[in-house]
Structures are given as C-alpha cells and as structure tokens.
Subunit: 346 residues, 2 copies
C-alpha cells in the first residue's frame, strides 16, 4: 500500500486527510506516476463543432491538427472523441498530452493560429488547455495496465494506493490538499479578441474527466453495463450539461472515444468544468443524479466482484488561474466555458 501522493511531493501538512493512517480501502486502485522531474503536465482539448453532416472544413481541420501533432514538440500522445451537444451540434474533440510545459509552449503558438486564428467555413473551433503543476492534478485507475488520457504520458502506474473508495479521496490524492483548501477565486470573464472569444476563468477551476471502457466485457457483463449502468450515467451527464450551473458545474460533455479509424469505440468519458473541487465533491456525494450513478455502479461491481472486466478511470485537475486557456471561434454560446459567462451576440 502506498500513498497516492508521490514521495517527492509530500510536504508538512497544515490540512489533514480524511481517513486515518490505518485506513484500508476495500478494493485496489492505482494512480499514474510521472517521472519525478516532471513539474507540469498539459492537456489540450482541440474541438471542432458543426451542425448536420461534417463539412469539408471539419475534416480538413482534423487532418491538420493531426499533422501538427506529428511535428517536433508535438504531444507524446493524443486521442479523439465525439459528442452531440444540447444544440444538436456535433463536436469532435482531439485531446493532446505533454509532460513538458516548455515543449508545449514552443509548439502551441502555431497550433493556436491554425485552430482558432482563422474562421473555417461552416465550423466552429475551440481550444481548452490546462497545464497544471503536478501538485494540482490526480488520477485514479481500476486497473494498472491500460492508461488513458494524460496518464499515457506518465512513466507508469503506482502500486495499490490508500486514498480511494471514500468520499474525499479525490481531494486527498491531490498533493496540494496537504496545505491548501483550493477555494475558487472570482468569476469567469469573457474577452473579445476580434471574432475570437476567450474565457478567463479563476483560480482553482476544476476539471474532471471520468471514463469507462467496456471493450473487454463479455456478453452478460456488457448487457449489465449497457442496460443498468449506462442509462443512469447518461441521465447524470445530461443533468450536468443542462442544469449544472445551478450547482457549480460550468459545462459537461459526455464523450464517445473514437478509434484510430474514426469509428466509435467501446470507451466513453464525461468531461466537466467546475467552479471548485468542493462543488464537484457535493454533486458526487449527495446529488440524486450522482447518488443514482454511484448506486448503479456499486450494484454492478458487487454483482460481478473481482471478475468485472469494466475499466474505470478518472483524472482531476484544480488549476491555478495562469494554468488555463479557453478560446472559442464561431462556436455557439453553450460551448464549453462560454456557458459560464454572459451569452454574447455573434
């Protein structure tokens, strides 16, 4: 048993963790381990948005960004997912990962100009970037042998960690929680830069990406997941998308991961932006929509026991104000962090 907080990020505490030192989680979980030299990680979400059938400009954009990923300074890993939003628009989001901020910074300027620097016919584009210090970021995996998301950029996985399977584990896994309550500061603001809209959020904005992978499940387990768990999960995701603002959730996307050939895979993830880690904690712990998800997942996992082949993971970042970047071009006002600011004219 090891701590989710790597040894080199342990600091004298001014804040306690929520469980006693002899706490034993009831089942194993694992976290991504970066090389100790890694001080910041980067996840950059490049979205393209359109209504109806995919315009040629959308296809071009996806090809171009993939091309840019391949040049020097590009990400060590990227993935792609799709999502039909509340305005019935298709959104294809390509997510790229770095474990070296200087490398990302040198690479990014050209990509930004390419992505949101010029309008593309019939499509909107957006960029959402977090580049947190490793103290402001945590992951959790049900199995140590298939990393997803930013964890692919890590050196490997931990052994079994202690801080999970209780409410508050997410906070306790964040190294910064040793000394900081991570309270949010201020409100998101909108900046017009020609046709580009930038959102400047605030200290301690929180991003969670929470994923599931049912590709290894056999018939009966798959049926149980798709019939009993997925609909409840979708209901919660829809609530966050449509009514999240009332509880501090700025935006939510329930994404289908795409395979390399562009087809829909048997993986999905919810990606949501929150006013604070505390707001996310309250939803997860006590909102009826998540209590239902939690209940369905518990029933599923207790029915299957250790034979369950469903894989679960999440990554959570509580970003400082200067670790965030949100830019939207020609997107509708319910796109990502635009939802958090006053609706604007075209």
């Amino acid at each position: 048993m090891e701590s989710a907080i790597p040894a080199h990020l342990e600091t004298p505490r001014t804040r306690h963790k929520r469980v006693p030192d002899d706490y034993q989680p009831p089942y194993p979980s694992f976290v991504a381990r970066y090389k100790p030299a890694v001080s910041r990680v980067v996840m950059a979400y490049f979205g393209v948005q359109y209504g109806g059938a995919a315009p040629a400009a959308a296809m071009d954009a996806l090809k171009e960004i993939a091309g840019l990923f391949a040049v020097d300074g590009g990400p060590s890993h990227w993935d792609r997912a799709r999502y039909v939003d509340q305005c019935a628009c298709e959104n294809v989001v390509t997510v790229a990962y770095w474990d070296d901020l200087a490398r990302f910074n040198a690479w990014f300027a050209r990509a930004r100009e390419m992505w949101t620097g010029r309008k593309r016919e019939g499509v909107g584009t957006f960029i959402e970037v977090l580049r947190p210090s490793v103290a402001r970021h945590e992951t959790l995996f049900s199995s140590p042998d298939r990393p997803e998301g930013i964890a692919v950029a890590a050196e490997g996985m931990s052994g079994e960690v202690q801080e999970h399977a209780y409410w508050g584990g997410m906070r306790d896994r964040l190294p910064l929680s040793q000394t900081d309550a991570m309270a949010p500061g201020g409100a998101p603001e909108l900046i017009h830069d020609g046709a580009r809209l930038r959102v400047v959020a605030h200290d301690n904005l929180c991003l969670i990406r929470s994923g599931q992978d049912w590709s290894d499940t056999a018939a009966s387990e798959r049926k149980l997941y798709l019939d009993d768990v997925e609909p409840v999960l979708r209901e919660g995701m829809d609530f966050l998308r449509d009514d999240g603002l009332t509880i501090g959730c700025y935006a939510n996307r329930y994404m289908q991961v795409l395979a390399a050939d562009g087809s829909v895979s048997e993986k999905s993830y919810g990606q949501s932006w929150w006013k604070s880690l505390a707001a996310l904690e309250r939803w997860a712990e006590s909102h009826p929509t998540h209590v239902k998800i939690f209940g369905a997942a518990m029933k599923y996992l207790s029915t299957l026991g250790p034979s369950a082949k469903l894989r679960l993971y999440h990554e959570v970042t509580v970003a400082a104000a200067d670790e965030q970047f949100f830019e939207y071009l020609n997107c509708h006002p319910k796109t990502g962090m635009l939802t958090a600011v006053e609706t604007v004219g075209a």
Copy 2:
C-alpha cells in the same frame, strides 16, 4: 444559518471542516442547544434481558428503576424501548438523561446496586453509560419541534445549521473535531467482578443513536416508509448486529420505542457502538447496506419533498475512556459491549 458548534465551544482550529465557509445545505436541519453552563451530559441505558414470556422479576425491575428515576437526583427525562436480539431474547432498555454530571453521580450508586448488584430470577440486567463532555457529542434533527433522547434535556433547538447533508457533517458538528482526529486507543477489555462483567473500552469509542418517527405520517407516506424504507433499514441494522465486528461495529440494537403505557409506538432507533467515528463514517458512506438505506431515504424524501411528515434525528458521542461504563449481569455473551470482548464462561 448558524454553526452546529455553539459559539462558546469554538476554538482556534488545527483541523479544517470538510466544506467551505460558503457551503449551503440543500435542506434545513437543527441541533440541540444545551445551556452554556452544561459541560457534560449523561445518557444511561438500563437493560433487562430474558427469553420467552416476561418473568415477574423483569416487571419488578422496570418498576423499580422508574421509581428510582423519580427520586431526587433522578434524570430530567427518560424513555423506554424494546428489542428482540440475535439470541431471540427480549431486551427492554430504559434510557435516562441528565445534563449535570454531579447530579447523576450522586444518584447512580444506588441505581447500580439495584440494577446489576444482585441477580434477578430468570433475567439478565445491564447498564451502559456515557457521560461525555459537550465537545464530544452532537445531535441532528430534521425538525426543531420534537426533541428525542438526550436532546429533551437540552434548553432548546438551534436555528438552521450549516454542517449537515454532506459526508463528514457528523464529524464537523462535534466541537472536538476542531482540534482532534478522535482516533481510537486500545482494545476493549473484560473485567470479572464476581458475577458482574464489566467492559473497559477505550478512548474515542463511538455511540450513535439514529431514530425515526413516523407517527405523523398519513396513509400513503406511511405505506412508503413501511414498505420501501423500513425493510432496507432493518437489513442494514441486521448486518451491523450480525457482522458489524468485521467493520468496527461492536454491537447494534434496532429498538422499538415504547409508549408510556408500554405499547409499541411509531418510533424506532438504531443504537450502535463503534470502535471509532472513522469506522462509522466508512460504513455510512460506502458500505452497500448503508448505501441502500441512504438511497431509499433519498428516494423517499425526494418523492415527498417538504411535505414529508417522517421525522429523523440522531445523536453521536465520541467518548473518552473515563466517560464510559459498561456492566452486565447474567446476560448472554452477545449483549452490548460483551460482543467486543472474548466470549466468557458463565
């Protein structure tokens, strides 16, 4: 909105509460407020145990203790409840409350000799007393207008308090949590004193009494409670009674409150002894039996909304070692805190 911790028990914190200062609970709850001069409260459980029909000695004992309650120094309030235990024995437990330790101490010696000082034909008797400092004790009520248990000895009820409706609220309501993790110390020990068995537990032993009162519910709400909630509650109570030791629950009784005329009322409570507050927290937050109870209660309350007439309350004590007293005479080895120590011969 006020803190559950009364102003005169606020101390400079070395430990944080689990929610930010601007946390707003989604529905109102209330706590008992003692007079600021009250430094300790006392709850004394006097049990009588027998198999089959009530022996005359049991009836005599109940009359005698009621008589003693009426003498000078007796409790300001008492109630009575019954419970058929896992050995199919009837247990009738009379609970008395004081807000003055000196008064209780002066009164108790005679009661103890009367209750566990001599064997009664065909019955076992036991005494379980907690006399916590007010910093080690908290209550919670869904309505402010009908106190139960120790709260009847309080001066009144608070206004709406902040620290509830989130996991960790119980700990945050305990004034001692401002500075102390309340970790358990040591293991319970058995002491033979002639035929009397005393259990000396350990620092930070935890007692929760968690009650429900459906006497005000009309037909459809009553049916919902009795059909959908009560069976799930009973299942959880049975788990704690039969298998609680595996998760740090020493003993649990699911009691039916008796009316003044001895008939069964429409009130019940679970009363359980725990190795630590942390063990109780883990069960409540993540054990399948309590997750089911929580889910059933949430569904019930969200169906009924503010029109619900069901009343809920609890009281929790985390007792210092010298604030506890457990004594058993002629009881079976699965009685109360005897469950926590090695089974002993007659």
